[in-house]
């Protein structure tokens, strides 16, 4: 039985009042999403802003209802059997939210209580220890830094020992120490059998952690494969250089540009020569030229820039 099963999930948001007045339809955020995540997987859900990741997680969490289709967690439908489905799910929300009335231990005890768990202090202590929160147990939530609040969010999601953990952008804006602590802890849970679904904009994290990845674009799955297969599918090399000039449009739309640094996918020596020729022709001066192996970010940019027909290859 899959840990999570998305079956033909679509979501269309009702049009706003001005949109309705102009006869415009609502926004289609998800369009027939279908894939399974097996138990024990470390699965990455990637896509640019507005691709539908948050809509899909919201439906999984029961915060939102699909317009059509169904989602199951360990076989329990998130709408019909919501109580059982949520018992199997631990979700770390994207927003840094907290209840200002309570200290960390109180927040975790209360969260345990919502799941009907009493006397959960042994597990709460282990969570506090593992997430580096032990000395903050009696601190009010308002007194914590952003990183510490993020750790509490993780602890709250895990307080009922869910077999499926969903991390929605858990490392957005947090320091290196928390990332290390968090990934070590989550990797340990994954090794112990927990399923992990991760959404992130840090593609190096997804590449390092996830066995399998789905990429969303405009509400549809455009890639779904093992991480290693996705890397193989990309151009195997990347041409990296610095420039002050403007790239020709054909190159610019495929490039990763960070300040002066430009990285262009190149399949082979012939394509490298084509890129260089195109830049010579456009009068773009380049320096510090080098080649490197492609990574997940290159795959991502390539897929997002392309006009591919959505491919839904379940492996």
């Amino acid at each position: 039985m899959p840990a999570i099963s998305f079956q033909q999930v679509s979501k269309t948001y009702a049009p706003s009042r001005p949109q309705r007045a102009q006869g415009q339809p609502g926004l289609k955020a998800l369009d027939g999403i279908t894939f399974d995540i097996q138990q024990g997987e470390f699965f990455g859900l990637l896509g640019p802003n507005g691709a539908g990741k948050t809509s899909l997680i919201s439906i999984l969490a029961g915060l939102s209802r699909p317009t059509s289709g169904s989602v199951r967690v360990h076989g329990f439908d998130v709408q019909r059997d919501y109580a059982q489905a949520r018992r199997h799910l631990g979700i770390v929300p994207q927003e840094l939210v907290f209840d200002p009335f309570f200290n960390v231990r109180e927040a975790l005890r209360i969260q345990s209580g919502y799941f009907g768990i009493k006397n959960n202090d042994a597990w709460i202590d282990e969570l506090l220890q593992s997430l580096g929160l032990a000395d903050k147990a009696d601190a009010n939530m308002r007194q914590l830094s952003g990183g510490m609040k993020r750790r509490v969010l993780v602890a709250q999601a895990l307080v009922h020992k869910p077999p499926v953990i969903v991390l929605d952008e858990p490392t957005a804006g947090v320091d290196v120490e928390l990332r290390q602590t968090l990934w070590q802890f989550v990797a340990r849970l994954n090794k112990a059998g927990s399923t992990v679904l991760l959404t992130t904009h840090y593609l190096e994290e997804a590449e390092a952690l996830c066995n399998r990845i789905a990429m969303l674009k405009q509400g549809r799955v455009i890639a779904l494969d093992r991480t290693s297969e996705l890397l193989k599918s990309a151009a195997s090399n990347v041409l990296r250089f610095k420039t002050d000039g403007s790239l020709p449009w054909e190159l610019a739309k495929r490039a990763r540009i960070t300040g002066r640094i430009v990285q262009l996918p190149a399949l082979d020596a012939h394509e490298v020569e084509q890129h260089l020729a195109a830049m010579r022709q456009a009068g773009v001066a380049i320096e510090d030229v080098e080649m490197r192996k492609a990574d997940l970010e290159d795959v991502f940019i390539d897929l997002m820039a392309g006009e591919q027909t959505p491919l839904e290859v379940a492996r």
Partner: protein
């Protein structure tokens, strides 16, 4: 019974702990306000007004003020908790749990009852220092305090779900709850009103809460306590059905 079916008790505990942690604001302040009403109105009107022929005005005022405090604080508890957690985003901690709509209902209304009764008891303890209202039928008083708190806790739940901004909540409170409370006979017996306004008062369910509650102190009331019980009980069932249904469909909390 499944384990998670008991989760509502944790939400009830959390909601009680929430207002208790700011007790000076949630319990102390309304007790002080009621005491000021009692001092000012009692000072001005005691000796000038007799209600039901024999009851002094300050003594008459005590049950009205106690019940007004019960009602306003029960409403404030559920409404402020939900609107705050909606706006701050912390409602997600409850939304992600297996709690059913019934669990939400019992917890939010239950905690409102606890706060309403706690404030009411505080006001009563202070008020009896000014005037002894008598406790002719205390069970009636307790029953109406409970039902009044439940009714307003439920209305607060509905308002909290409906409101998207604090000013919408303030409008609900200032233009609906406050006038209905003040025009329900807190400060006067409706028999002192012209006949037309007496009839209008009979359409206000808040009147029956306060009148029934007052019966528990004096054994005298403007309407029969049984009629008041029927009206208040029915009104609570109606607003409860609305609240439970809003929670079931996730009105403004699940998209």
């Amino acid at each position: 019974m499944m384990v998670h079916a008991l989760g509502w008790r944790a939400l009830l505990y959390k909601e009680v702990l929430r207002f208790w942690k700011v007790g000076a604001q949630t319990v102390g302040a309304p007790v002080l306000t009621a005491m000021l009403y009692l001092m000012i109105f009692g000072h001005v009107l005691e000796g000038h007004v007799k209600v039901y022929g024999t009851v002094g005005y300050t003594a008459f005022l005590v049950p009205g003020l106690v019940m007004m405090s019960v009602l306003q604080n029960a409403f404030a508890n559920s409404s402020s908790s939900i609107i705050q957690s909606k706006i701050m985003g912390s409602l997600v901690f409850v939304l992600l749990t297996p709690l059913s709509h019934w669990g939400w209902f019992f917890a939010y209304v239950g905690s409102s009852i606890v706060r309403g009764l706690a404030v009411g008891l505080g006001v009563l303890v202070v008020a009896v220092l000014f005037a002894w209202p008598g406790f002719v039928a205390p069970w009636w008083a307790l029953l109406f305090a409970f039902l009044g708190a439940a009714m307003l806790g439920t209305l607060g739940l509905i308002a909290g779900l409906w409101a998207e901004k604090f000013d919408q909540m303030a409008a609900f409170q200032n233009f609906l709850i406050m006038p209905m409370t003040f025009l329900s006979g807190v400060f006067y017996s409706i028999h002192s009103l012209p006949p037309f306004w007496q009839q209008v008062s009979h359409l206000n369910p808040f009147f029956y809460m306060i009148d029934g509650f007052r019966y528990g102190f004096f054994g005298i009331s403007d309407a029969s306590p049984w009629l008041s019980l029927a009206v208040v009980g029915s009104a609570w069932l109606v607003v409860s059905a609305i609240a439970v249904n809003l929670l079931r469909i996730g009105y403004k909390i699940r998209s």
